[in-house]
């Protein structure tokens, strides 16, 4: 794949991740604690890891977070909040993916990614509020992360099959 094609595809991924995170913010999630999200943008992270790799996934996550905090508002704090979770989750997922497709399914990888995202966010919150007590929401976040990670994983594996058929990555 040449560089121009790669740049265009990654740009498309960023825009789709951005759209997903904006659409996601319109969907109310009934949850007793803050921080529970659908994590739809994670679909794009998973797909980028599959077709490109860790560095590209990192770039997509970073640019998506920058743009979504510009469009969604919220300033530095919320940017740091989402970018830390995103980078941690991309790192964990790439690590698991590289260690062997025969070992882990996309669903399993996605669940691990969702949970690392939650843990990353708790760490940022604990750091800025200087209070480890923010971790009281962790159990609920972990469970919701499992459920959403499962569905994100399903969607990603369907999407992977569909994208492979299009042969745009050859």
């Amino acid at each position: 794949m040449n560089n121009v094609k790669k740049t265009i595809l990654l740009g498309l991924f960023v825009s789709q991740a951005l759209i997903l995170s904006i659409v996601e913010s319109w969907i109310p999630v009934p949850a007793p604690v803050p921080g529970v999200k659908l994590g739809l943008a994670n679909i794009i992270t998973v797909i980028t890891i599959i077709f490109f790799g860790f560095r590209e996934a990192l770039a997509v996550v970073f640019v998506r977070c920058v743009l979504s905090s510009i469009f969604g508002g919220g300033g530095w704090m919320l940017f740091l909040f989402s970018v830390t979770g995103g980078i941690l989750s991309a790192a964990v997922m790439s690590l698991l993916y590289k260690s062997g497709r025969d070992k882990f399914s996309i669903t399993g990888i996605s669940i691990a990614g969702a949970i690392s995202h939650n843990i990353g966010q708790i760490l940022v919150a604990a750091f800025f509020m200087k209070d480890l007590a923010v971790a009281v929401v962790l159990p609920v976040l972990l469970i919701s992360g499992c459920i959403m990670g499962f569905f994100v994983g399903l969607v990603s594996s369907f999407l992977e099959g569909a994208l492979r058929k299009t042969r745009i990555f050859d």
Binding site: P34, G74, D102, I109, K130, A133, V136, L142
Partner: protein, 126 residues
């Protein structure tokens, strides 16, 4: 569709959930039979402590800064009533009533949490 390594992920996740549940319930139960004190913290500085069970008249507390929050206190409970921050996570958290409950407004670096504090009278004997 699931593979062998997934079992490790699931096992790890289940252990993590169990440990965190255990830790949180330990934390929440550590201060039974104590007064519930709501602590309001802004920029890592405590600005007010309120014994929420002793509040009889509802009152509002204004927090101003980069964004503005209005905190509402009633008997036995406290919440972010209004905020002009973009994400409104703090308002959506709703009422805080139990020890260990907390609501955080990250954009404004404001936090309300409920702490337990031993009451002044430990035992009453007749």
């Amino acid at each position: 569709m699931l593979k062998k390594g997934d079992l490790f992920i699931f096992g790890f996740v289940i252990i993590l959930i169990a440990v965190s549940f255990f830790g949180v319930s330990l934390y929440k139960n550590s201060g039974k039979n104590t007064n519930k004190i709501a602590v309001i913290i802004k920029d890592n500085q405590e600005i007010q402590r309120i014994e929420i069970d002793a509040v009889n008249e509802p009152m509002e507390i204004m927090i101003s800064g980069e964004y503005n929050d209005i905190i509402l206190v009633e008997k036995g409970r406290i919440r972010f009533k209004e905020a002009d921050c973009p994400d409104k996570v703090c308002v959506n958290t709703g009422w805080l009533t139990e020890k260990g409950d907390m609501a955080v407004c990250l954009p404004n670096k404001t936090m309300i949490k409920i702490e337990g504090q031993s009451s002044d009278v430990d035992i009453v004997t007749y």
